[in-house]
Symmetry: C2
Subunit: 335 residues, 2 copies
């Protein structure tokens, strides 16, 4: 947790961040002239537009996932706050190319409300829309209330599949269907070791004791499932694995993509050690790893900790997963 944020006036954090991010990535994206919408410069024409979005503060998600074979635009809110309906509407209008708009975002009350309103504005103009809410965090609600679950790093895989499905020329209904299937096949759970801090605020997002960790804590400090003393990495991973697997009906022979996502300050060394144990458990259970990724994709400022995401594949999902994509923060060569 850092009190020394590299910012200017705290009130200008999001506008200055948007300005700098767009300038740094000007080969790939431009900013909507009026709202905080990040727009792809080179969208494929004549396809369903994929629009993602949510609160800022989780970079590179969402703005960093606009690109070829990925999102056509991202509607960005203030830090940890949903973009407003007008931002969503204006951003989507900019990239709609006559085939409708598919929205992908995390399942949070504010996002749900605002994206629904943004969709209504579009529908009022005759633009068809659909949405898929990411709800991968198994710690955030029991399986019987899966529709109350929060979206965390599973966003990455959902955006990947949605981007490829839109890129392949699927109809809005078809693209939404594939994306919904992907979303339903994804489970995540995280662990928090240290809080992050919102630029301009004096206090960390949450508090943890000196040697305390919390299983299942959300990206905004939402309560998890258990606080304990710090444990060795292998023990942490085993506990998380044992939370995910029963939720999932994974069987020996199933194939998954794996993401170990740092929440901010957790390092590649630590992610690698986490992956080592995770792979041992997957191998033990006969679950095949189709691809894997260790990265900082969905963060909460400099929060310490990580999440594990498993994405169960079938032949159709593999096809979209294997499609090439490119943006500076997420690139796949394709098969």
């Amino acid at each position: 947790m850092s009190t020394k944020k590299i910012i200017n006036n705290p009130d200008d954090v999001v506008s200055e961040m948007m300005e700098g991010f767009i300038l740094a990535n000007e080969k790939y994206v431009t900013k909507h002239p009026e709202v905080n919408g990040v727009i792809s410069k080179n969208p494929r024409k004549g396809k369903v537009a994929l629009v993602i979005g949510g609160g800022s503060g989780h970079e590179p998600m969402f703005a960093g996932f606009v690109g070829k074979g990925l999102a056509d635009a991202a509607a960005c809110g203030n830090i940890f706050a949903s973009p407003d309906p007008n931002t969503i509407y204006e951003t989507a209008s900019e990239v709609n190319d006559g085939k409708g708009v598919l929205f992908v975002y995390g399942n949070y009350a504010g996002d749900n409300l605002n994206f629904d309103m943004g969709e209504e504005f579009l529908n009022d103009e005759g633009i068809p829309t659909a949405h898929v809410r990411v709800m991968d965090d198994v710690a955030s609600a029991p399986r019987s209330r899966a529709f109350d679950r929060r979206g965390i790093a599973g966003d990455v895989f959902v955006v990947k599949i949605a981007g490829a499905a839109c890129d392949a020329g699927l109809s809005l209904e078809e693209a939404a269907g594939v994306t919904q299937k992907a979303s339903g096949n994804i489970r995540s759970i995280g662990i928090a070791t240290e809080p992050g801090q919102i630029p301009g605020l004096d206090k960390p997002i949450f508090e943890l004791g000196e040697n305390e960790i919390e299983y299942g804590m959300g990206l905004h400090g939402e309560p998890g499932v258990k606080r304990t003393e710090m444990q060795p990495a292998d023990e942490l991973v085993t506990v998380l694995y044992n939370h995910i697997i029963p939720d999932f009906d994974l069987r020996a022979g199933d194939e998954v993509c794996v993401l170990v996502n740092s929440l901010g300050s957790t390092t590649m060394i630590e992610m690698s050690i986490v992956y080592r144990k995770l792979r041992e458990l997957l191998d033990r259970d006969g679950i095949k790893v189709y691809d894997s990724d260790l990265n900082h994709y969905c963060t909460s400022q400099e929060m310490g900790g990580f999440s594990i995401t498993l994405f169960k594949l079938d032949e159709e999902l593999k096809k979209y997963y294997d499609a090439p994509c490119y943006c500076p923060y997420y690139a796949k060569e394709g098969k």
Copy 2:
């Protein structure tokens, strides 16, 4: 700075990290059977082999820069410690394909000594070698003693150019020449706001007061040029810019690539705000930005702070910069 490192036995950190990293990236890399060498699975044949390396703890540099159009292998040391000569020799032997080996590494006494010995072992077997030492940190020695300067995030651009030059089929001498030119055209300087911590050690790498920062501090806590109170981002960037520019003979009309590199816990929001001011200064001075990048490439665990790197291009360097490359941590589409 986190005391809650996600590790098992501290003595096993590097071996478990290597194991997990290789497994997670098994599509792209394999491990040398005997030493901590990360070897590309798909090297282009019949070209000069590019071998990079250095101490661990700066991930994704170096292991994360093995890939297509990038390094063929990375020799990895313990945390903040050079790989030993045998590791360098064995790793290079594995990827030598009859055209010789080009080494790129940071200019540190231990690395220089060990890489020189590794080269001697190869030369004794008749394998020709060359090396380029990265010495981009303008804060680490005055211009008159530029050969004493440390290598920091400038590594990224040097590896990019060296990888492309080897990939293009240049001879060892030619590839080393282009790479040396690139290295000579790169200047960096950083700022530290918070220390990182080596896994298994009780104390942070260095100490800073509650509201204190240090300009020019090295990646291992080496002394910088000045400690002050924390400043607004625009002020920090201006001071850094004014350190780099006089060292560099940049003129209006020159073209540069820009890298803002987080040292660990500094966020994309902060990097974007840094870039915004940096771009304003470059624009003011008529220095054109050819490309830019905000990322965590060369870290020091969860250290707070960032570095700015400027890479002056000419037509030859642009050609190699524009060549496509791919690894999970650094991908360019090419032109």
